[in-house]
Amino acid sequence: MKKIFRTIYKIKNALFFTALGILAVIGAMWFARPETSVIEKRELTKFPKLTLSGVLDGSFASGVDKWYADTYPLREQFISGSYRLQALYGDRSQQIVNGGAGNKGDDIPDVPNKGDPTDGPTEGPTEGPSDTPTQGDSHDVTEPPTEAPTDAPTEAPTEAPTDAPVTGEIMGPLFVSGDTAYELYYFNRSSAESYATAINRAHQILGDNVNVYSLAIPLGSGILLDTSTQSSLGISDQRKAIEYINSLMDPGVHALNIFDNMKAHSSEYIYFRTDHHWTALGAYYAYQEFCKSKGVEAHALDQFKTMISPGFLGSFYSDARSSAMKANPDTVTAYYPMGTNSMMFTQTDGQVIAWNIIMDVNSYDPGSKYYCFSGSDEPYAYAHNPQITDGSSVVVLKDSFGNAFIPFLIDHYEYIYWIDFRMYNDSLSAFVAEKGIDDVIFCFNMNNVTNSWSIDRINKLLS
C-alpha cells in the first residue's frame, strides 16, 4: 500500500509542478501580453518605469505586481472563468455589483410649486438667431480635414476609433436583474447645487445673446425601475433631483426636464440593458423636449434612415459579465441625420480625423457598438449641415450620453460643435465668442450632474 501511495504522490507532484511550470512559461511570454481590454474599455497596466526612488519605496515592485496580474496572457479567458465561478456563489439572477450596496443619497429638498421653468418656449428664441455678429467667417473650419468626409453612411472609415476612451463614465454600483442592469443613483446635494451655480455662471458669462440649455439625463434606474424597487434599493429619486437642480437655475437658463417624457416611454427600448447609456430612441425623447423648449418642431422618427447593429454587450456586461446578458445582447439602432453624415473630430493628440456622425458598427466588436454615435468620446468635434444656410450654431458640452443626442441636432443648425468636458481643456466662453455660437447645451447624465469632479471640470472650462 505504501508503494501505491508513493506512486500517487509522485504523479501528483509531477502534475502540479508541470502545471506551475506551464503557467509560469505563459506568464513569461511578454510578447503575448495584452495591452488593452476591449471588454473593460481600458488600457491595461503598463510595466513601471525603473527609478531609484521606486525601488526604495517599493512602488516599482508593486507596479510589476499590477502589470503582471493585469496583462497575464490568458487574462480574458481567466477573467471570464472567474465570473463563471462567481455565478456559482449563489442565486445571482439579482445582485449588486461594483460594491456600494447600502449607500444612501442626500435628502432632496422639496421644490416650491412655482411652475416648471422649462415649460414652453416663451423664454427662448423662436428661431435660430440670425443677428449673431461675425457669424459667417467665424465658422470657417480652422482644422481642415485631410480628406473630404463622405456623406455615404455605410462607407469608410469602418474601424473603431483607435484611441478608444480610457476615462469612461463615472459609474456607480449596479443592480443586475436577469439580463438587465441598472446603475444606482445617489443624490449629492452639494454637487447638485454646484452644478446649478456653474450653469448660472455660464449663463452670466455668455450673456443674453447665447441660449444656455441644461439637459440632465436620468439614468435608466430612475426611469425603468418602479418606485418600490427604487425605494427598496435606497436610491435617490431622479425626478425630484432634476426638479431641485432646475429650481436653482436662473430664469434665463433653459433648464430642461426630460424625466416625464422618458417615463412616459419607459416601456420602449430607451435604455440599453447591457450598457449604462440610453439608446438613440431615448435620446430622441430628450430631443423632443429640447425642440419644445427651443420652439422648433422635432422631426418624426420615421423621417430618418437607420443603422441597426445587433450583438452589443456594453459596460454593464463588462462589469457584471452576466451569462444572461451575454445570451441576450443589446441591439444598437442609430438614426442618420438628414442634412449630412459628415463630421470631423480632433483627438487628444491634436490629429484631425474625418468621420461619420453615424458610423456603421456592424463590424465592430461587441463592446464597442456605442461608438457609432458622433465619433464617440473625443475632445472636440464639429459638423456642417449644408442644407441649412442661416448661420445658426450650437455647441454641446457633453459626456458620452450626449453622443446619441447630437445626431438629432444636426438637422436644426448649420454649424454643430460638440465638446467632451472630460477631455477639452480650452475656454468655453472664448470658443463661444470666437464661433459666435447661438445655443450652448450642457448635456450630462445624472452621475455627472451631481459629481464634484465633473463640476470642477465644468468650472475649469468656464474660467
Binding site: N13, L15, G21, I26, D91, A101
Partner: protein, 476 residues
C-alpha cells in the same frame, strides 16, 4: 509581493522552487533561499531591508556574546539586546500612535510624524527575540554565522506574516534537510489549499464583508441590522480563511524545501471555550506570549491576583501587537475579560453547559471580537455595534441585504465548511478505506492527484486582473 499574487506564484515561487531543487549541496540551497528571501523582502521597499539587517545583526552579535558570559552580565546583555530590538519595533510601530495620543492630550507635537511600518517587523522581531531568549536560556546554541541567522529571520515563507518560527524548530533543518515524495506532496496540498482559500474564498468573502461594513460612521449608520450581521459573518470567515491561508502556504512551501514549521491554526471556529479558541488560533503568537511573557511573569504559580495581572499584561500586549490603535487594545481586553471569566468565574462549571451552547457562545464572542478588530475608528465601531441590534433607526433588513445573501449563500456555506476539519477528515477516512476498497483507492488517487492542479488553475483564474488583494495580517 503577496503570496496570493500572480507574480509571486508564477514567477517568484516557480523560479525559486526550480532553482532550489536544482541545487545539489545544502550550502547552495541555503544561498538560493537567502537570495530569494532578500529579493522577496526588498520587493516591499529596499529601505525596509536595512531595518531587518540591523535587527538581525544586533541579535546575532548579542547571541554570540551571550555564550561568552555568565551570571549578571549575561542577563544585562539580554536586556540590552531586547531593549534595542523592541525600541526599533516601538519606533516604527508605535511612535506615531504615541505622538497622536500625546497631541490629542497636550497639543504636542504639532505634526504627528508619519512613520511607515516596515513589512513583517512584528513577526521577525518576535522570531529574533525567541532566538536570543532561547540562547540565553541555553535551549539553543548561538548561531555563529550571521548569514544563517539572517536566513532564519528573513526566510520568505514566513518572515512577513508568520507562523512565528522558533529558531530551535528549524535550526537543524537549516543545516541539513531532506525531502520525500510524501513530504512534497503534503507541501503541494498545503500550498494550493492555502492559495485557493485566499484567492477564491477569502477574497470573495471580503466583497460581502465590505458590502455593509462601510469605512465611515455616517455610511455605517445607514446599514440595516441584517446587512451588518451578514458582513460580520463574512468578515469572520474572511479573516480566518485569509490568515490561515497564509500559514498554509508558508507551511506548504517549507515542506517542499524540507523545512517543518509549527502549525499556526487548528480549526479555531470549532472551539467550545475562549481558552480553547486561543489554543487553536494563531498558535505561534499565543505560545510566544505564553513562553516569553506569561510564564516568565510567574504564570499561574503566584496566586490568583498575580495570575490575573499576568493575563492582563499578556492580553494588553497581544492587542497592541496587532496594531497601534485603541481598538486593538480593546480587542485584547475583550479576550482578557472572557478568559478571566472562564478561568475564575465559570471554572469547572463551564463543562456543565451543553456543548452546543458553549460552541455557539464562543462563535458569538468571536464574531464580536472581529467587529472590534475591523474598526480602528471607535465611533464607527460603536455605530456598528448599535446597528447590529437595530439601534441606528434603520429597518432590520432591506432588499439589498436579502439580495446580497441570496447571491452569496453558496459561497458562505463553502467558506463555513472550509473553516471546519470536514474535508481533511473525509480525506483521511478515504485514505484509510483505500486499504480495503479498490473504489476508495481510485477515488482517493483521483482527488489526491487532481486537487492541486485544479486549485492552482482556479486560483489563477480568480487572481488574474486582480491588482491588489493583500492579506489582512500583512499590516502587522
Amino acid at each position: 509581493m503577496v503570496f496570493s499574487s500572480m507574480v509571486f506564484v508564477f514567477a517568484f515561487f516557480a523560479i525559486n522552487i526550480l532553482v532550489h531543487s536544482l541545487c545539489k549541496s545544502m550550502k547552495a540551497k541555503n544561498i538560493c533561499l537567502l537570495i530569494s528571501s532578500l529579493i522577496f523582502y526588498s520587493w516591499a521597499g529596499l529601505s525596509f531591508v536595512a531595518i531587518m539587517l540591523f535587527d538581525v545583526a544586533v541579535c546575532w552579535f548579542f547571541g554570540v556574546l551571550l555564550e561568552l558570559y555568565d551570571g549578571k552580565a549575561r542577563r544585562r546583555l539580554l536586556i540590552l539586546c531586547l531593549t534595542i530590538v523592541l525600541l526599533v519595533l516601538g519606533v516604527f510601530k508605535y511612535a506615531g500612535f504615541v505622538f497622536e495620543n500625546l497631541q490629542h492630550l497636550t497639543g504636542f507635537p504639532k505634526v504627528v510624524p508619519n512613520i511607515v511600518l516596515p513589512l513583517g517587523i512584528s513577526f521577525y522581531t518576535f522570531q529574533l527575540i525567541s532566538y536570543v531568549v532561547d540562547v540565553y536560556r541555553k535551549k539553543v546554541p548561538a548561531q555563529r554565522s550571521f548569514w544563517m541567522l539572517l536566513l532564519y529571520a528573513s526566510l520568505f515563507h514566513q518572515c512577513v506574516a508568520g507562523p512565528i518560527v522558533r529558531y530551535g524548530d528549524v535550526m537543524d533543518e537549516l543545516r541539513e534537510r531532506h525531502t520525500t515524495p510524501a513530504m512534497i506532496s503534503r507541501g503541494v496540498s498545503r500550498f494550493t489549499v492555502g492559495l485557493a482559500k485566499k484567492a477564491i474564498l477569502a477574497n470573495s468573502c471580503a466583497v460581502v464583508a465590505d458590502a455593509f461594513f462601510k469605512t465611515d460612521a455616517a455610511a455605517l449608520a445607514l446599514q440595516p441590522a441584517a446587512g451588518l450581521w451578514l458582513s460580520g459573518l463574512a468578515y469572520m470567515l474572511q479573516i480566518y480563511l485569509d490568515f490561515s491561508a497564509y500559514s498554509d502556504m508558508a507551511l506548504g512551501m517549507g515542506l517542499m524545501c524540507g523545512l517543518h514549521y509549527r502549525e499556526n491554526f487548528d480549526y479555531p471556529y470549532t472551539s467550545t471555550s475562549v481558552t480553547e479558541f486561543w489554543r487553536r488560533w494563531h498558535i505561534t503568537l499565543s505560545s510566544f506570549f505564553r513562553d516569553y511573557v506569561y510564564i516568565p511573569l510567574g504564570g499561574n504559580r503566584c496566586g490568583t491576583g498575580r495570575q490575573i495581572f499576568n493575563l492582563f499584561v499578556v492580553w494588553s500586549l497581544t492587542g497592541l501587537w496587532h496594531g497601534a490603535s485603541w481598538n486593538y487594545v480593546l480587542w485584547g481586553m475583550y479576550f482578557f475579560v472572557f478568559l478571566v471569566v472562564e478561568k475564575f468565574v465559570l471554572g469547572d462549571g463551564l463543562k456543565k453547559i451543553p456543548g452546543v451552547i458553549r460552541y455557539l457562545g464562543v462563535l458569538l464572542i468571536v464574531f464580536f471580537c472581529w467587529v472590534i478588530f475591523r474598526f480602528e475608528d471607535l465611533t464607527a465601531l460603536w455605530t456598528v455595534v448599535k446597528g447590529l441590534f437595530g439601534g441606528n433607526g434603520n429597518p432590520m433588513t432591506n432588499a439589498v441585504a436579502a439580495m446580497t445573501f441570496k447571491s452569496n449563500w453558496a459561497l458562505l456555506l463553502v467558506s463555513v465548511v472550509a473553516c471546519t476539519p470536514v474535508c481533511a477528515n473525509l480525506k483521511l477516512w478515504l485514505k484509510d478505506a483505500s486499504a480495503k476498497s479498490g473504489a476508495a483507492l481510485g477515488l482517493y488517487s483521483v482527488i489526491e492527484i487532481v486537487h492541486p492542479v485544479l486549485l492552482l488553475v482556479l486560483s489563477a483564474v480568480c487572481l488574474t486582473g486582480d491588482v491588489y488583494n493583500p492579506f489582512i495580517y500583512w499590516i502587522f
